[in-house]
């Protein structure tokens, strides 16, 4: 019976086509927005994760409290064995030591006198270990503007705007002036290998990226690390998983009396990231809700129109002994099938678009310069797994709800009027 009716639905173009187009559009839009937003938020998360927070980050309790000051005197000692232990205990992430440090960068002239000087933010990350994925996740190769990648621990990359301001070229020397791990005054000459543009507003002005070993040497931090960061292997931030992992870790190491006891923080707890994570979730919910509401209204109307068009059909079927309930339910069945087909088409339309925006991206340099959080200049969508089924929620739910509302007319039908109605048909 339902098969018979569905056949009718698809033969009756004027009845099905418009509904199908509406469902398809709404579904495609929902899925697309999902992919787009996932991409934007993922980008925000990824940039913050790579540069600042990791998906999770281990520091000492004391370091966490004063993290803004980058207190390397409170660094983790025995960092390398801790990284190995973490990799064993939590193989779902990869782990790496790093050192964030601040100071002045001084560029000397040919006589060794200061030519230019400026505050810098340094990152000592593991560039050279064979198992390290830091080069890859920082995407340093792609982001080189001038010069080349460092090849030895003493070589560094500078932000392109930073280098320009200081007037330093690749191949020249820049001197770090700051404090060692033990508080002593340190000057250390780095060779500038190249310049980079991370595409991250604000940070290219003062960034220095060096190899972990080089920084350890400069700051006298052998086998120490300010932070140990962990990332999921696919680099996708899974908030609940990261929160759970951090909690699990903290249970075992927490010792309130020892300020050097370790503490793990998920990305969510890094500055405004928690709010971001939540907003990402809420926004998706709201988008779906709005779309469901709009679709219900549109399809309700379409259903009413179709109901008028099919008045004769319903009347004939009632006269032939179909119950009102059966007419109503089969109409609903048609709607479900229509909703599924529309959702399928909509998803098929949206997924390649998202994929394209994931692979190629959309450059919007300059549009968001004033934004306070870290964003890259290229929007990339992200084809999250839920893109494949999320569209079915508005697609099917709304179609059914719209048809349900429209179909109430079937129950209001006066049977005694059937003959008269059916005569008016002609």
């Amino acid at each position: 019976m339902l098969r018979f009716l569905i056949k009718g639905v698809f033969r009756d173009r004027s009845r099905s086509l418009f509904s199908l187009i509406v469902i398809t559009l709404i579904v495609a839009l929902t899925v697309f927005i999902r992919g787009f937003m996932a991409g934007i938020f993922d980008d925000v998360f990824r940039q913050s994760a790579v540069i600042f927070a990791g998906h999770v980050k281990v520091t000492t309790q004391a370091y966490t409290k004063e993290a803004d000051l980058l207190p390397n005197d409170l660094a983790i000692l025995g960092a390398d064995s801790l990284v190995a232990a973490l990799a064993q205990q939590y193989p779902e992430m990869f782990w790496s030591s790093r050192i964030m440090f601040a100071g002045l960068l001084d560029v000397p002239d040919e006589y060794g006198e200061t030519k230019e000087q400026g505050p810098m933010l340094g990152f000592g990350v593991d560039l050279f270990s064979p198992e390290s994925r830091m080069l890859e996740i920082w995407e340093l190769e792609r982001k080189i503007v001038r010069g080349r990648l460092p090849e030895e621990p003493g070589e560094v990359l500078l932000g392109e705007t930073f280098a320009t301001r200081l007037g330093v070229e690749p191949g020249e020397v820049a001197t770090f002036i700051g404090a060692s791990m033990y508080g002593g005054f340190v000057t250390y000459n780095f060779d500038v290998a190249g310049t980079i543009s991370l595409g991250v507003t604000g940070i290219d002005k003062n960034i220095l990226i060096a190899d972990l070993q080089g920084v350890r040497q400069a700051l006298d931090m052998q086998d120490a690390a300010g932070e140990i960061v962990g990332y999921s292997h696919d680099m996708f931030y899974d908030d609940p998983a990261s929160v759970a992992l951090a909690a699990d870790f903290n249970v075992n190491v927490d010792d309130p009396d020892n300020e050097f006891s370790l503490f793990m923080q998920p990305l969510r707890d890094h500055t405004q990231m928690g709010a971001m994570v939540d907003i990402a979730g809420y926004m998706m919910g709201i988008v779906i809700l709005v779309f469901v509401a709009v679709t219900v209204l549109v399809l309700w109307n379409l259903g009413l129109m179709n109901g008028l068009r099919r008045y004769g059909e319903f009347g004939m079927r009632l006269a032939m002994g179909e119950t009102k309930g059966h007419v109503y339910r089969t109409t609903m069945g048609e709607a479900v099938v229509m909703g599924i087909v529309g959702s399928f088409i909509g998803t098929v339309v949206a997924v390649p678009l998202i994929w394209y925006l994931q692979e190629v991206g959309l450059d919007y340099t300059g549009l968001f310069e004033d934004m306070t959080f870290v964003v890259s200049n290229i929007i990339r969508a992200r084809l999250t797994p839920d893109c494949y089924y999320l569209g079915f929620i508005p697609g099917v739910v709304a179609t059914v709800a719209g048809t349900m509302l429209a179909g109430r007319g079937i129950y209001k039908r006066e049977m005694s009027q059937l003959f008269k109605e059916l005569e008016l048909e002609a």
Binding site: K7, R11, D12, A319, L418
Partner: protein
């Protein structure tokens, strides 16, 4: 109920609420339809023909009196039970055919069989047979839009007859047809009436139809004015 009776109507009154009071569309109607009869309800416009057919078909409820159709007293029956009665026992033919435009002739005729949940091969057999009765075996795959009015009404007849109901109710089945098609339709119906001993009840104004009836109930102002039994209808005299 008399075994021989397909419909029994006793003291039927039908009032329609109009304004503050009511309008009496049928009054004191008492009659029986006998199995195999080819009955016409005849009378001026507004005399209550359609109202009576509606009540017999379970589409409308009497105000007073009792109606029994196919051994089922309709009083107090709910919507579902009445639908069941129509589905199993009654075929309808409408003035305006009411075919489903998106379906083929075959599918239109098949529809009532789907409603009673019949298996596919059995459906095919019955549909083919019904289309043969109405002489449309060559139009099986056509859509209603491709058919003439007469052909459409023949499809509608096939649809009404395909489940071999005991009773067929037809409201002005020839009103939209020309003389030639009207006669053609009536001949088909008479033939089915004799072959399957299906009982028919028509509402009609049409003189051409009257020539085929074995019984004519004249309604005037919702009352049976005359009940004529015709042992030899006009069409047989011609032969």
């Amino acid at each position: 109920m008399d075994d021989n009776h397909i419909v029994e109507i006793r003291d039927l009154v039908k009032n329609y609420p109009v304004g503050g009071g009511h309008f009496t569309a049928l009054r004191d109607v008492t009659t029986d339809l006998v199995v195999g009869e080819f009955t016409g309800l005849v009378g001026p416009s507004g005399s209550g023909k359609t109202t009576l057919l509606n009540i017999i078909g379970g589409l409308d409820a009497p105000t007073e009196g009792s109606v029994t159709v196919l051994d089922m007293p309709l009083g107090g029956k709910n919507h579902k039970e009445l639908a069941h009665l129509r589905r199993e026992g009654i075929g309808f033919i409408f003035q305006t055919f009411n075919l489903l435009p998106v379906y083929t002739v075959f599918e239109n005729v098949e529809f009532p069989l789907l409603l009673i949940g019949m298996a596919a091969d059995e459906r095919k057999e019955l549909v083919d047979q019904a289309l043969e009765w109405v002489g449309l075996t060559d139009k099986v795959k056509s859509r209603p839009a491709q058919l003439s009015g007469g052909e459409c009404q023949r499809v509608a007849i096939a649809r009404a007859i395909v489940k071999k109901p005991k009773l067929i109710i037809a409201d002005e089945p020839t009103a939209n047809l020309d003389a030639k098609n009207s006669h053609n339709i009536m001949q088909i119906l008479v033939h089915l009436n004799q072959e399957l001993s299906t009982s028919f009840i028509f509402a009609t104004h049409d003189e051409k139809v009257m020539g085929y009836l074995t019984r004519i109930i004249h309604l005037i102002d919702g009352r049976i004015d005359e009940d004529e039994h015709i042992s030899e209808p006009e069409y047989r005299k011609g032969k």
